[in-house]
Every structure is written in C-alpha cells, then in structure tokens.
C-alpha cells in the first residue's frame, strides 16, 4: 500500500521555465510534508517542508503548495536551472520527522 505517491517518474523542463512536481498521499495522519533532492551516489538532501496548518511555503526558487482536502502537494521550481536536475522525493510524517514515508521519486531533467 503506497501511502505517498509520485505518479510521474520523470519530468523534462527547459532552463528558465517552471518545474512542477506532484505528490499525493492517502494517510490522514500525515500532517508534515517534506521534499528532498537526491543526486546520484549521494544521500537525499532536505529541500523544503510544509506543515498542515499552511497551504504554501516559499524558499527562494522553491515553493511547496499543500491542498489538504485533495491530499495533494506540489513543488514548484522557478526558474529551473540545470543544477536542479536530480531525483526529487516527497515525504510525509505524522507531525514529526520520525517515521517518514517516502514517494518513489520523480527524476527532473532541466535542459538548456
């Protein structure tokens, strides 16, 4: 039972345009959500998070949107840069960072 789903395994975006990565979850107990970026041969790196009391959190070029009623969150990267090319994981937890449940990841390729 996949409680956190990233339905797009890959995404290709031109440099300078917006990248939108999507994530859906099914567990109503999740109220803290995180995005991680992973380069090959490295561990995931924390990118941005959002708690269920908010619907938007912004950090520089990265914005995460949360739609609780739809159990959906998205990560927007504007403008996209070639260095953003990586695998992005969505993760969710029950209010704390322990016991995170991860999605399967979306591979983002930013082209010149």
């Amino acid at each position: 039972d996949q409680q956190v789903k990233q339905n797009s395994p890959s995404l290709s975006v031109q440099e300078g345009r917006i990248s939108i990565l999507n994530c859906d979850y099914t567990n109503s107990m999740f109220d803290y959500f995180l995005w991680y970026k992973k380069y090959p041969a490295e561990g995931p790196t924390f990118l941005i998070s959002i708690s269920s009391i908010k619907d938007k959190n912004e950090d520089g070029r990265f914005t995460v949107f949360l739609n609780k009623s739809a159990k959906h969150l998205s990560l927007h990267i504007v403008p996209s840069q070639p260095g953003d090319s990586a695998v992005y994981f969505c993760a969710a937890g029950p209010g704390t960072a322990s016991k995170l449940t991860f999605g399967t990841g979306t591979r983002l390729q930013v082209t010149l």
């Binding site: 995180l34 561990g43 993760a91 960072a97 322990s98 399967t104 990841g105």
Partner: protein, 119 residues
Amino acid sequence: SAVISQKPSRDICQRGTSLTIQCQVDSQVTMMFWYRQQPGQSLTLIATANQGSEATYESGFVIDKFPISRPNLTFSTLTVSNLSPEDSSIYLCTCVGASGGGGSYNEQFFGPGTRLTVL
C-alpha cells in the same frame, strides 16, 4: 545541520554472509534511523536506532535479519545478516535533532548511503 558519514560506501558480498554498515554523525543527535532503497523503489524505513536500548523495527523487518546498535548519540551500526540477492539495496542512515544546527527539528539529514550488491 548534521554531517553524516557511512562506511563502507559500497560493497559486493556473497550470499549467506553478513555486512555491517557504520554511521557516524558529527554532532549528538536525538534520533537515528536506517532506511533501505531497493532498485527502482522508494526509501523504506527499517528501524529507529535507540541509544542504549533495542532498536524499534518497522513492519516486515526483524532484529535477527537487521541487528542494529547505537552505543552513543553519534554512532550506529546496521548489520544485514544471511545475505541474499534480494538484500541488494542502498542502505541509508539518517538523523533528526542535530544539536547546534539551524533549521527545523523536523528535518531529517541523510548519510551518503551504502550500496550493497549480493551475488
């Protein structure tokens, strides 16, 4: 933030043997976890490494197969026992609650991972 190192970074092992992975954090941390990422799969939590007591295992993972130690607040080991090809994965150590660092308590910091291949 916390800096986590893992040893070995990769290994190739024979079926039936065991591999012990070491995880070292550069500061005392509240919680340490071990995850597994099988090929093409998501990251799956194996267990919470508890300092001074037995680890807490997630459904589908047992102590006999994945014994874990955490002798202090900066170090943990994961052993993958009686290896089979199905154990070929990346094993990741993570921590939460790094002292002295910025950011939210709710950030989990990941080590670089150990890539295990079982022949």
